[in-house]
Symmetry: C3
Subunit: 364 residues, 3 copies
Amino acid sequence: MNPLLREIRQSPLLWLLVFVPAVFITARIKHEAHTLLFVLSVLAIVPLAALLSHATESVAAKTGDAAGGLLNATLGNLTELVIAFTALSAGQIMLVKASIAGAIVTNTLFMLGTSFLLGGLKHHVQEFNRVSARLQSGLLFLATIALLVPSATSTADPASAPFTQTLSAGLAVLLIVAYGLGMLFSLKTHPALFAGAGHGDDGEPPWPIGLAVASLAGVTVLVALVSEIFVESVQKAAESFGMTPAFVGFIVVSLVGGAAEMGSAVSGARKNRLDLSVGIALGSASQIALFVAPALVLMSYFIGPMPMNLQFWPGAVVMMMIATLTAVFVTNSGRSAWFVGVLLLMVYMVFAMTLYLMPPGASK
Amino acid sequence: MNPLLREIRQSPLLWLLVFVPAVFITARIKHEAHTLLFVLSVLAIVPLAALLSHATESVAAKTGDAAGGLLNATLGNLTELVIAFTALSAGQIMLVKASIAGAIVTNTLFMLGTSFLLGGLKHHVQEFNRVSARLQSGLLFLATIALLVPSATSTADPASAPFTQTLSAGLAVLLIVAYGLGMLFSLKTHPALFAGAGHGDDGEPPWPIGLAVASLAGVTVLVALVSEIFVESVQKAAESFGMTPAFVGFIVVSLVGGAAEMGSAVSGARKNRLDLSVGIALGSASQIALFVAPALVLMSYFIGPMPMNLQFWPGAVVMMMIATLTAVFVTNSGRSAWFVGVLLLMVYMVFAMTLYLMPPGASK
Amino acid sequence: MNPLLREIRQSPLLWLLVFVPAVFITARIKHEAHTLLFVLSVLAIVPLAALLSHATESVAAKTGDAAGGLLNATLGNLTELVIAFTALSAGQIMLVKASIAGAIVTNTLFMLGTSFLLGGLKHHVQEFNRVSARLQSGLLFLATIALLVPSATSTADPASAPFTQTLSAGLAVLLIVAYGLGMLFSLKTHPALFAGAGHGDDGEPPWPIGLAVASLAGVTVLVALVSEIFVESVQKAAESFGMTPAFVGFIVVSLVGGAAEMGSAVSGARKNRLDLSVGIALGSASQIALFVAPALVLMSYFIGPMPMNLQFWPGAVVMMMIATLTAVFVTNSGRSAWFVGVLLLMVYMVFAMTLYLMPPGASK
């Protein structure tokens, strides 16, 4: 366990791992301290997500290019998947949906915007691979359309519920197929178009394969256990902070789930490796839309009290659509400066402000 | 009639012409066999549309560049126009509207997507004339906006019906003017920008002018007669296949009406002449939006039981808008690979699946 | 006062200044002649706006690049601001909102379209600075999103009114911050990207600073006084012309307020200086969206009978959104020909026709 310990000692972020036992102990002895449990679980998930991310990359590095890319693409959002899975088993479908929509919006606007802003403050004008950015935003655009259709066509009429459910299952299958074909395209048939857009190769040496696989398994279990406490406490804690449920699902859960990737994306941008940042931000968003969301729909038939559909609150659909269009628009030129980041962050703040002020019950 | 017969013998598609007499005979003797009549009329329309297309091109080839381009642009969607005209005279305004919206969506997503996919499977990366693609998608964008406005502004309030009707007639005139100016631009003042984007020059020798004009007239009459049987049988046949009326109008009618052009577009893509494919797909879509749809609105004052307006079912407006935005987005770079085709086809399948599953009565 | 008089003698537009005293006299003696007062006030505002515009530029030219740019950017839409301020004090919030939305749509579609069309009729293909156009349309896109959100999230439920009001105030602050950062970007940190996109440098020699400042102050007062008569008479006059209130606010007020800039934009296009035209049209639109509109929201807490929010009639939101998307789309290539102008003007005519025909009361 030498490299793991060495990494923990070197990286201040991983000192937060001390909150992992803390949250378990607190959950045992002070089961009702929702606010405390919420804060502790957030502090515990962030370093676990960072470890998970490094473990995935280490396994991917050992298994060769194509298989590694596949693994990276599938497990890259493992934290989000585990949190959403936990919420789904607890029957909190509204929270799952809000966190899916929120993760897409947060990755596209906040993660990309922060990267462009902080990268641009250091470098005058930055360039990135347009072709790769276009594929990612194309996939994202497709996914947003698929997520828009059930909301646009289903009516208030309860008779349309079975239609919405069947449609959602069908769309979930379509999205996963599109996701698979997208990987085939970027990893197998046209990898040259994506040169320079590697996912997460941030210069740290990979771990030995045994350690990596063991960490992957062990940390996933830990994330799942902490997520359970997080999901239980988040709503009540949010109320005591005066946040609306929509704000919690959209903003808080997304920021917690994406904290590890956020770090890699921003660090890439500061090193003038904007391809990395754009790849992480848009790749992560399209992965959630095309893989995590449909996987949750299909899983919901087996776990949880009732199947989940893809019908979102209309406001969430509008926000996802705008986030995607904004991403298409800003990545179109392949160049960036700090103000592009400001534009993205402003759109994000418009959304966050709306969700924060919105009367509870409006986001149905 | 030598060249016509030679062409029929060489082209397997034209063997389908045998279904033309078949459908007339069946209509006489088994008037109630809706499903059979539907299948036969589809099989008869496809080769007639191919003949019509070749006859139009032959006449165009003889009449010189500008006049020929004008003719091609006006008669290129004669099949769609005749089918819609027949439905209009039969008072089936819902079917006319669904087929207009469906033709725009089908040409933009399915025809373009199939061309990109099948062309891309043969050629690694394909290029096409961006300027021409932009003009076409610009025109299409304008038309979609004009088609969106009556639906967005008219309310459920029946008092707004006269407003919607007047507005639709005014918009129809505007669209036809825009279409005319677009032709002036591409054929007269700026033809150089469109080099390489010829419509339908697929290497076959044109027919002599007499034969071409006679075929044009004769085949149009045949298409009109078969369309009558098609329009009568399509709804009942669809029910027996378990299809919703929305699916029939949007998907089935559009695929039948556009089958001939579909063939030319895909064959162009396989020969790495993607300009041709993009020109046919987007040109055809914008022609339907800017010429066929407004012409039908204006004609509806003279034929049919009541005038037709441009107010569409909101779902159809959303689909047209998304199809247009997708076309703008994918043609922006002037390059294509197989996965771009997959993206377009996926969006089309999302729509088709939605229409197929939709409870009847929802598409009002 | 020599240069001012010389300018008036040389420029036929400024002969219209004779209508300034005419409108004041008429308002005294024939207070009820709404139609006459409306026509006179329009004829008086146009030359005053032109003077105001020249005075602003003269002051800007004297105060150095950055401060001058700031001044130009802030006072460039002084006419619109004064008219809206007058309407706001009179409690005509609907008119203020319609004129904001209308000014965005008119600048983006009509001013840009006329420039492209008239420039393109003289020059075969024209080029302009894409980077600058992209910044402007990016800012405009952000502003439109911010203006869209209150309308999308507020419900008919009167309980949501305080939410909409707080949200509007918050968004107003965000927009002004974004506007300030945009100026920092274009004037301070990245001015080189905007080379060639100067605002309003149309070759006329600037006035001496004393005259310029005095004119700025004096003409602003005159515009305010004439605006008062204009705002009072416009609705009644419109009715007598058979125009709907929506048409008046959206189209008439916007054309009057923007007449001076319209002249500069078109004249730039004719001289093949399209950067100037695009800068004026998009700059003016984003200035109204990011500065005038939020400033009016914040001012409305101090003047007028009740605070103004940013909730627009949904049709106005759709039109602003489409105008912005159209601008993004057509400025993306950095090239133009006459037909691009036609496309923009057609979209504008679609909107104008809709507003003209719309039954009164529908634009709520």
